[in-house]
């Protein structure tokens, strides 16, 4: 009896996500984006969400579709503006969505801190820039740092390559990106994978996200998006 649930559908995987939740969404551009979970979240209907993700959606699919559906109140991300971020751009310019820009490494490290029980940390990134505004500055050994606080999620929606039936995960290439960190930082971590295998089929030396961080897993059809466009 594993604590991790293997569920039958993406819809089952996203049950219970409440209005107003903070949802960490994996992916760097399209790579690692949990498309099926996001589509299910759109069907599920939760609104007034705060989304934490590296980008603010590409094309008209995935996160962009969630934004277009009007479910997102605020985005924390490092890089909203891209060639294909027209959905976000439009909402932002119309004042229909809040944006908090966080340097990419701080986004990752602040989620790591949340998962690792660190209360706050002094980080050299963004010292002396507009993104330092309102942050506590401190000099340590002659270098300046800003105090950064953890970013916690109520839910994480991430994509991985394989899971075993206990919930151990491995990823594929640069689709790994934010998945492992987000899995540690959310109260409930929901994962879509290409395949669920038996315990013992993953190399224990190569497991990237141990099962302790994984709450629900759903196997989906292989992703069929293209790199630069819609899937």
């Amino acid at each position: 009896m594993s604590r991790t649930e293997i569920v039958d559908s993406a819809d089952a995987a996203v049950t219970g996500i409440e209005d107003g939740s903070t949802v960490l969404v994996g992916g760097f551009g399209m790579a690692g984006m949990p498309f099926d979970l996001i589509d299910a979240l759109i069907r599920q209907g939760a609104k007034d969400l705060t989304i934490v993700s590296n980008n603010a959606g590409n094309g008209d699919v995935g996160l962009a579709a969630l934004l277009a559906a009007g479910r997102v109140r605020k985005v924390l991300c490092s890089f909203p503006r891209q060639a294909d971020s027209w959905v976000f751009d439009g909402l932002y310019r119309e004042g229909k969505i809040e944006l908090e820009v966080v340097p990419q490494g701080n986004l990752a490290e602040r989620m790591r801190a949340a998962g690792a029980g660190i209360g706050a940390f002094y980080c050299p990134t963004a010292v002396g820039t507009p993104l330092a505004e309102g942050k506590e500055e401190r000099e340590i050994d002659g270098r300046k740092y800003l105090l950064e606080y953890p970013i916690r999620g109520d839910y994480a929606l991430i994509g991985a390559h394989l899971a075993d039936a206990l919930g151990n995960l491995v990823y594929r290439k640069t689709a790994r990106n934010f998945g492992p960190v987000m899995a540690t930082a959310a109260t409930t971590t929901i994962v879509q994978v290409d395949e669920v295998v038996e315990p013992g089929q993953l190399d224990p030396e190569a497991v990237v996200t141990p099962s302790i961080y994984v709450d629900r897993v759903v196997q989906v059809r292989a992703r069929h998006y293209t790199v630069q466009g819609a899937r």
Partner: protein, 219 residues
Amino acid sequence: MTTTPSTQPQPYVDHRLAMDELAAVVARDIPAGSFVNLGIGRPTKIADHLPADSGVVLHTENGMLNMGPRAEGDAVDPDLTNAGKVPVTELPGAAYFHHADSFAMMRGGHLDVCVLGAYQVAFDGDLANWHTGGPDAIPAVGGAMDLAIGAKDVYVMMTLFTRSGEPKLVPRCTYPLTGVGCVSRVYTDCGVFDVGPDGVRIRETYGVSARELAERLGL
């Protein structure tokens, strides 16, 4: 208050549980599917009493989940030990990780239960288990402080009294602390106690009445 029926009061020293029996009691109380760290020494024995289908996953601080039983004979591998440096085995679905990741897992509150030994536990959950405070003692904390503040539930497994008869569940620890208010339950040879901000609650007793225990401990 739950107590074991005790119609004929007996000197409790004759009926207290052996440590192996106590390990079975702790094992009984660990919810199926939990992620659990068992401290060095007595708590290690709890693993022997977990049902095979419990789905309990054991964490060892030196970088592994789904640790299996002690290794014997040819299965001994010097690269695979538990926190007590005892050779162990790996179960299907195991995962290895480095020390920073292992302690991030602990400190981040991801373990459901850890079970530690103790010199003393205070009524409010303070824990003393790393240092006798003696002038000749060499201090050695290991992962005790990290575990104490990390797991969702910290259980202590110990004898209730020292060899000289002093209670180890005390109003206030006199030994140096490992963690503040961190213990939620204490399993002893004489009984099981919930501890915390609301004080002590006796859950069950072995060969002694709850009233006698309460008197003896000054509850």
